[in-house]
Each structure stands twice: as structure tokens, then as C-alpha cells.
């Protein structure tokens, strides 16, 4: 059943997200074309500059839209009228959550890949220079541990992405427990849960830095302490958020 849910989730989301990504690709192509034509002189040089700005804005817009759409889709499909359809399907609540989480993560990764690839295509020299510079910094600071550090960093990013989505999910789940003002309670839940976990993370980091004095001043601690800490912390957070969302939707569903 998870496979079918994922199939229908892709069907429902593609129709909105695909056009957004096509616009991003189209703007990248136009940007590249305009920059390769060396015909804009004087006041006309505003044209390539403007197109470049529009392209860069579209990068951020696409990422923001993908996240907002993931959240709205979850709310609309599970907690509004459409929830009557989804929660009467012969599937477990966990599979409803899994299908939405997996598909949202897929879209975000695709979006990130598109941003990187189009940027590399439009500004190949600049992009390669930035990557080289970053790699050489990592190389000089971490030497043989650099690939390990990069892997750690990628894991932190991926898990924190999942956490970002799950935090929205659990807030929506908490909001639907109330009979009125579900969206307002969802927003309040988001702020509340976010503050609590930021606070806990800060406390733990503080304790670690007391035990290990040079934590903040020694860059080597990044791969030895900071990244492992965040991997563990974000993973634990993901488990808590997922379990809470699943518990509420399995045992405390309250559709108006």
C-alpha cells in the first residue's frame, strides 16, 4: 500500500512542482543565452543583470515553494475535507506519513540538485572556483579526515531537512486535536516545539563545551564532536517527532 500511496502522492504533487522546476530551468537557459551574447552595451547591460537577478530569485523561490507546498499538501490532504478520503483508506496512518515524507524529501533533493546543476551551467567558472576554494580550506584544516567531514556534513543536512518537514507535520497533528482554530494551534505548536528543541540543543552544547574547553576554538572538534553531536541530536529529534505524529494520527484523530 505504501507504493500506491507514493504513486498517488507523486501524481498529486508533480502537477504543481514540475512547472516550478521547468521555470527554474528555463530562466537558467535564458540567463546563459543572454550572458553568452555579448551585445548589451551601455544602458542595455541592465538586461543581463536583471535576468541574472530574476534567475537567482527563482532559485530561492523554488526552494521556498517546495517547502511551503509540502506543508500545505500535508495539511490539506490529511486534516481538511480530503482527510475524510485519506483516513478512510485501508492503510496505516504511518504509511500516510511515510508517503508524504518520502515524496517531500525527494522533491527537495531534486530541487537542490537542479539549483546546483543549473548554477554550474550558467556560471561554470565561478561555481568551480567556489567549490575548489571550499575544498582547499577543508583539505588544509582536516587533511585525511576531509572526506569524512564532508560525509558527516551531508548526513547532518539530510537529517535536518527531514526534521524541518517532521516539525511541520507534528505541529499540524497537534493543531488538529483542537476543535477550533486548528491552524492557529498548529502555528503555536510549531513555535513551542521549535523553541524547546533549540533550547535543549543549546544546553547540551554548553555542557559539552564545559567538559571540553577548546570546543569552540579548535576547528578539529567540528568533525569529532560538533557534527557527530548534531547527527545524534537530529536523529533523536526525528524519531521523537515522527513517533508523536504517528501516535496522534493513529490514536487521536479528530477530523471536524
Amino acid at each position: 500500500m505504501l507504493g500506491k500511496l507514493i504513486k498517488h502522492e507523486f501524481k498529486a504533487t508533480t502537477r504543481l512542482l514540475l512547472p516550478i522546476y521547468l521555470i527554474l530551468i528555463a530562466l537558467a537557459l535564458i540567463c546563459k543565452l543572454v550572458h553568452s551574447l555579448d551585445i548589451f552595451k551601455g544602458i542595455l547591460s541592465l538586461i543581463p543583470a536583471t535576468i541574472k537577478i530574476v534567475y537567482v530569485i527563482s532559485i530561492f523561490a523554488s526552494l521556498v515553494i517546495t517547502v511551503i507546498f509540502a506543508v500545505m499538501r500535508f495539511y490539506k490532504n490529511l486534516v481538511s475535507d480530503e482527510g475524510y478520503l485519506m483516513f478512510t483508506l485501508p492503510v496505516k496512518a504511518s504509511n500516510l506519513i511515510n508517503s508524504k515524507l518520502l515524496v517531500s524529501v525527494c522533491w527537495l533533493l531534486l530541487n537542490a540538485a537542479l539549483v546546483f546543476l543549473t548554477y554550474l551551467f550558467v556560471f561554470p567558472g565561478q561555481t568551480k572556483d567556489i567549490i575548489k576554494a571550499l575544498l582547499s580550506i577543508v583539505e588544509t584544516e582536516f587533511g585525511s579526515r576531509s572526506s569524512f567531514l564532508i560525509t558527516e556534513f551531508a548526513i547532518v543536512m539530510l537529517i535536518s531537512l527531514v526534521d524541518t518537514i517532521l516539525l511541520f507535520y507534528v505541529s499540524i497533528a497537534v493543531g488538529q486535536l483542537f476543535n477550533r482554530h486548528k491552524i492557529a494551534f498548529s502555528a503555536a505548536a510549531y513555535i513551542g516545539i521549535y523553541s524547546v528543541y533549540q533550547f535543549i540543543a543549546a544546553i547540551i552544547l554548553l555542557i559539552i563545551s564545559f567538559i571540553n574547553n577548546d570546543l569552540m576554538f579548535n576547528i578539529a572538534s567540528l568533525s569529532r564532536i560538533i557534527f557527530p553531536f548534531f547527527i545524534f541530536f537530529y536523529l533523536a529529534l526525528a524519531v521523537v517527532l515522527y513517533t508523536a505524529t504517528n501516535y496522534i494520527f493513529s490514536k487521536r484523530l479528530n477530523l471536524e
Binding site: 490532504n77 475535507d81 482527510g83 475524510y84 478520503l85 478512510t88 492503510v91 487521536r252 484523530l253 477530523l255
Partner: protein, 232 residues
Amino acid sequence: MRAILECRTLNKKYANLVALNNVNLTIERGKIIGLLGPNGSGKTTLIKLINGLLVPSSGEILIDGKKPGPETKRIVSYLPERTYLPDWMKVADAISFFEDFYSDFDKGKCMDMLKRLNLNPGMRLKNLSKGTKEKVQLILVMSRQADLYCLDEPIGGVDPAARDYILNTIISNYNENASVIISTHLIADIEKVLDEFIFIKDGNITVHASVDDVRSREGKSIDTLFREVFRC
């Protein structure tokens, strides 16, 4: 055979409202039951509890001996009192959705009924009137070979001609092992198809009886009885 639906001291409370109060109810297989009561009497709450969209405050609700969950949802076909299909879908999308998730969905039957009511599968739900959407939903729900059908206000928004067709569909579509619960306040229209009826008032079930018994004993229709019992 096990009762298709059983409620034991079922309660549902909201902050300052008792929606269902100590409901004890057994529904056998092979019956068409009218769930009748004024607005806000608890009809929709009971149906939502059967479908697991709400959780009881206390007591128990069993469908074919099981608590609401994926197993019971497989055998219950539910028509809510609102439009629950995503409006970007075409009728054909909704059909393939039902086909994918419900193994008891009969596509041929669904297509026949759509044709009969002059509905084209290529139409987008967004562009349909409220009554037409209700027809599409009812057709989807009745195209399943379920054990229990829960129809919440199935005829409220459709014209009288379609109403007759829909009621005929309901009686001709369910098999002898299945039961149909129809919640409505349009009693006169559905009275002729009912085997049993339930009067529900302020969350309490006041009467659960056979339609024929009441007709022969009291000599009056359920509609007349309803007007007497629920006189304002």
C-alpha cells in the same frame, strides 16, 4: 454470523458538549437502517466514529468484531456529508484512486452508473456543481462490494429524479451480507427502502426498531412518527 456493527456504552464528548451519550447499538447484516434525527443530534459523530475519523471518549465500537483500523476500513464504504475528493482530480482520477486502494471496487459497475447519470469520466471535479460531485462520490462509494455502507446525507443535495435512481442503486447494489446505514432528515424520501430505523436525539438513541413493526403497530409512517417525537 457476527453483527456488522456493535457499540457498547459509547460516549463522545467535546469540550462542553456531549455528542453521544452511552450509546448501545447492534446492527445485524443484511439490513438497510435509517439513522434519523434533527441537526446536531449526533448522527455524523456516530458515523465518523465507525470510520475512525474520531476516537471515542469512552466505550467501544466494533465493526465485524474489530476496532476501527485498516482491517475495518477495507470492509466499510463511507460517504461523508461533504465533498472529500481533491478538486483537481478528474472523475477518472478518482476512479483509479478507488481502484488502487479498494480491492472490492467494481470499475465496470462504476462506469455503468456514471453513464446512466450522464456523467463523463473526463470531467474535472472542480468544474462540477455540488450536486453532481455528490452523485460522483455516491457512485464511487456504491461501486464497492463492502460489508457496511455508511452514507451520511447521501441525497441532501441532489434533485428528486436522481434521488430515486440513487435509492434504487443503494437497494440493488448491496448484498445480503451487507448492511447500509443512511443518515438523513429527508425521511419521507427514504422510508420505503428502510428495514430498520434509529431515532437519535441529543446524543441518545431513543428508538431502534423495525419499520414494518412500527407501521403495523402504530399505524403511521416513520415520517409522521418522527414529526411527533421531535416536535419543536
